[in-house]
């Protein structure tokens, strides 16, 4: 029995690779398993190659990364295109389509012999039992069910759900194809038992979704009533979800002519008093930057979600990367500060999005949520979220008394001024990108500019002590410290747990508030640290560099940073942890 099962499937677009993964994940979720599924495509619109990586486990899953237990190749050419993302290892069980004509002992894999190899006539079985080669993916599900467990009823349920719209005939054909796969597996048993153990948690209703849909749902929960956006991979599903939902709540969605108009309309809606959001990816963010400056000086709340992909420019639009941190922190000209938040998982996306709205409304500022391609598009089981425990913050409206002598940009002690909106009698003021006095009137006074800058920075001071926007795990006084963020934080966390299980003393800091850099939190964390790593998915190690602008980071804390499309694996981080532990021991001895 196994606690953990990692499956990689690759084939041509149209082979139903992703559908197979989704059906498996749905079935596993119904059975009470935890799981994460990522998908990866070539950048072709249709056809091309497609793959999915699916990790199922009896306990909550932190990352889909890790060595494959089973790899499925529907054809070798496409499978090999994902060599970086789905590497075959000595422990991997290799399943492939026999009509590829490759002999089991002549697999086109370099320098590795899988633990077991099955050549299966997948297409032939699909045609024979379902009457169409479109059922190839269903045969694969049957094979996996037979070899690795997961209840057949739930599997069939998962398939039914996935293909519900296609009618009874398809459903019956699928059921027969599934049965054929299952029987093939039963007739060719594995030499070793790799079946998934029974899940530890019960079969309570888990949520199953991806980061983009979770973000959109969180926006609805937070009271977002205006969204404007322009389609861009990998963020577009946020707009698509909201287009199905926002109207029902009296809200409005605008597909704008470009990202400048998107953020412009959002600034306008916020000025009109509504909670407003846009979502984009790196190139769209670049177009929005002038408007971030406007919203900062006019002190207007808004949320912008940047689903990061490989860059610069079009870069690798279907691959995850964490290389927009500098852009998020420093976008727009002039002196201004905009909070940047990052979720670490699909489940986390809910709280982070709600927090983004809360910060935006409270501090009257743009807030950027840095998601990434992996979180945005990976499907994940999420423990039920009790939404009613999340508090919602509304912007500070002027009181009746304040409206009689209204000063929109009043220099208050907190730096936060009461904000009116058109339609509110007595609240009339001039919002502007021009520096202004407390009344909103244009000024060129150096003194006033300084005071207003100070106000606009001072208001964020409380963020320095938002320790709740950080997660710390491990030994508080450890000499070894990891820092990681976004989807990669799960990898670091898994490595940390493996290391501690080996008796290593180490700790991990996961910031969800990336900017402003909360200096006291890092100072406390690094107080005991002699060696460590910033684990992140960018060439430069952007968080490492950003934190060093504000905090003394110990010299032997270095980035473990990789460009996108090069998955960082827990085993690799674990190895580095062991090396650091050994080095520390050596120095000590």
């Amino acid at each position: 029995m196994s606690e953990n099962l990692i499956i990689g499937i690759a084939g041509a677009g149209g082979d139903g690779v992703v559908s197979a993964g989704e059906s498996l994940l749905t079935a596993a979720a119904l059975e009470g398993y935890h799981g994460i599924m990522t998908k990866s495509f070539g950048s072709q619109i249709r056809g091309g190659e497609a793959s999915c990586r699916l990790r199922l486990a009896t306990r909550p899953v932190l990352t889909p990364n890790g060595p494959l237990d089973v790899a499925v190749a529907l054809n070798w050419e496409d499978f090999k295109r994902f060599g970086w993302e789905l590497p075959v290892e000595p422990a991997t069980i290799m399943i492939y389509e026999s009509n590829t004509g490759v002999a089991p002992d002549k697999l086109p894999l370099e320098g590795v012999t899988p633990a077991a190899v099955f050549s299966v006539p997948i297409t032939e079985m699909a045609v024979k039992h379902a009457g169409t080669d479109k059922a190839k993916n269903i045969v694969v599900i049957g094979l996996l069910a037979g070899w690795f467990g997961i209840g057949c009823e739930s599997m069939l349920e998962g398939i039914r759900k996935k293909f519900a719209k296609k009618g009874a005939e398809v459903a019956e054909g699928n059921a027969r194809a599934f049965q054929a796969g299952l029987e093939f597996a039963q007739a060719h048993p594995l030499a070793m038992d790799r079946k998934l153990a029974v899940p530890q948690t019960g079969r309570e209703a888990k949520l199953l979704t991806d980061g983009n849909d979770m973000c959109a749902a969180a926006a609805i929960f937070a009271g977002c009533s205006f969204f404007a956006g322009y389609p861009i991979t990998p963020s577009t599903e946020i707009m698509q979800f909201l287009d199905r939902e926002i109207w029902k709540y009296g809200g409005t969605l605008l597909q704008a002519e470009d990202e400048i108009a998107s953020i412009g309309a959002v600034v306008g809606a916020s000025f009109a008093g509504k909670k407003a959001m846009t979502a984009t990816s790196g190139p769209g963010m670049s177009l929005m930057t002038e408007m971030f400056g406007l919203a900062s000086i006019a002190e207007l709340p808004l949320v912008c979600v940047d689903v990061q992909r490989g860059g610069p420019s079009t870069g690798m639009p279907t691959k995850a990367e964490q290389s927009d941190l500098f852009q998020a922190a420093f976008s727009a000209h002039g002196d201004a500060l905009r909070p940047v938040l990052a979720p670490t998982s699909v489940g986390d996306m809910f709280g982070v999005t709600v927090e983004a709205f809360n910060l935006a409304e409270y501090y009257q500022t743009p807030v950027i949520v840095l998601s990434d391609q992996e979180i945005s598009q990976r499907k994940e089981t999420v423990e039920p979220i009790r939404t009613t425990t999340f508090k919602l913050v509304e912007r500070r409206r002027p009181t009746e008394a304040e409206l009689t002598d209204y000063a929109r940009f009043k220099l208050t002690e907190s730096g936060i001024s009461p904000i009116s909106h058109p339609g509110m009698p007595g609240g009339n003021y001039l919002a502007a990108g021009i520096e202004h006095n407390e009344l909103g009137r244009p000024t060129a006074s150096g003194e006033l500019h300084t005071r207003m800058n100070e106000k606009r920075f001072r208001k964020f001071a409380p963020l320095q002590s938002r320790r709740d926007l950080f997660e710390m795990e491990g030994d508080a006084d450890a000499l070894i410290g990891l820092v990681s963020w976004g989807s990669v934080a799960g990898v670091a966390r898994e490595a940390l747990r493996l290391a501690r299980a080996e008796g290593l003393r180490a700790k991990l800091l996961v910031p969800k508030l990336l900017y402003p850099v909360a200096e006291p939190v890092y100072q406390d964390f690094f107080a005991s640290v002699k060696r460590g790593l910033f684990v992140e998915q960018s060439y430069q190690g952007q968080l490492y560099r950003l934190v060093r602008m504000f905090v003394e980071v110990p010299a032997l804390v270095q980035p473990l940073a990789k460009s996108g499309s090069n998955p960082i694996r827990p085993a690799e981080v674990l190895e580095r942890l062991r090396e650091m532990a050994a080095a520390l021991q050596h120095n000590h001895a």
């Binding site: 209703a205 749902a217 109207w247 009109a272 000063a407």
Partner: protein, 330 residues
């Protein structure tokens, strides 16, 4: 350390007259003004109620003074209180204009007044939304947005103060400068044909297209009033001369001599083809009045949005139950 809470400038109300202004009747929903040209029965407001006490930065004699007066007259005639008006602009001399009124103003960034104004109107359809800016703001840096506000037919009024020059940056070529015009960035004369703002918006299907001049300020006020009352996107081009960098033939005195009222030549504003014909003569003739007013205006974006919201509102689950859609066997 100084007391951060202490204001360093004396605070005077922006609109000292507001408390004594007549406000909208209480207990009644704010309605969009009726699509009629009939003035309201009671003159609730004077133009002065819409003028702020902020001193314009414009050069003495600038055409924009007349435009702000015309706008405040139109607003008084329409009769909505200042707090129900959002006046949005971009960047340029003319874009300072919202600050000279008592409406809620937003002096945004260069070329983006229209996207921001659309967000405001969609977020609160009950507001009267005015947009203003110069020829560079509207037809150079912001030109890409004009087509989209027109095809969406968002109910706002867009006033372009066209002075054929970049005044704020001190006299460079603008998208409406005539070919051959010499400026500091076209030392030997412009090599480009100008944009024709009227044809531009007519071409994209605008339902209300007009032109006016501060040389005929009362006439301009009436044109703007009709634009505001028009249900849907309305465009008003104003030939507003630059006294500092403009040519002599652009100045108000010269304009006055050239003005031909479209009404006086029997132009039918319901006739799109005739409107386009007149608009084509922009380089040589100076027509004022309504070029085109769609006799059967299409539904506004706001109306369509409101219908959709109403038809879908029954399908909303409580916001705190929104995550239920992610339960696999839900």
């Amino acid at each position: 350390m100084t007391n951060l809470a202490a204001p360093i400038i004396p605070i005077t109300p922006i609109i000292p007259t507001t408390p004594s202004l007549p406000s909208a009747p209480t207990g009644q929903p704010l309605m969009t003004p009726p699509a009629t040209l009939e003035p309201l029965p009671v003159a609730a407001f004077q133009a002065g109620n819409f003028k702020s006490d902020l001193k314009p930065i414009w050069c003495p004699g600038c055409g924009d003074f007349g435009v702000v007066t015309a706008i405040t007259r139109a607003l008084a005639a329409v009769g909505r209180p200042p707090h129900e008006i959002a006046f949005i602009s971009g960047i340029g001399c003319s874009s300072r204009i919202p600050g000279y009124t008592t409406a809620y103003g937003f002096n945004t960034v260069h070329g983006r007044s229209l996207p921001i104004a659309q967000g405001i109107k969609l977020a609160n359809p009950e507001l009267l939304v005015l947009v203003a800016g110069g020829d560079g703001d509207g037809f150079s840096i912001g030109g890409g947005h004009v087509a989209h506000v027109i095809r969406r037919n968002i109910d706002l009024t867009y006033i372009v103060m066209d002075n054929q020059i970049y005044g704020l940056t001190k006299g460079q070529l603008s998208p409406t400068s005539p070919r051959g015009r010499k400026t500091v960035t076209s030392t030997f004369g412009s090599l480009e044909d100008p944009v024709n703002p009227l044809l531009y918006v007519l071409g994209y299907g605008a339902s209300f297209v007009a032109q006016g001049s501060p040389a005929d300020m009362p006439g301009l006020g009436r044109i703007i009033e009709q634009a505001i009352r028009f249900p849907g996107f309305a465009f008003v081009n104003v030939q507003s001369p630059c006294v500092t960098y403009g040519e002599a033939e652009q100045q108000l005195k010269a304009q006055k001599a050239r003005i031909v009222s479209l009404e006086s030549i029997g132009h039918d504003p319901a006739d799109w083809a005739s409107a386009a014909e007149r608009a084509r003569e922009q380089a040589t003739k100076f027509y004022t009045g309504i070029f085109y007013r769609n006799p059967n205006p299409p539904p506004t974006y706001g109306q369509a949005v409101s219908q959709r919201q109403q038809s879908l509102q029954n399908q909303a689950v409580p916001r705190h139950d929104i995550l239920n859609c992610f339960v696999p066997n839900h």
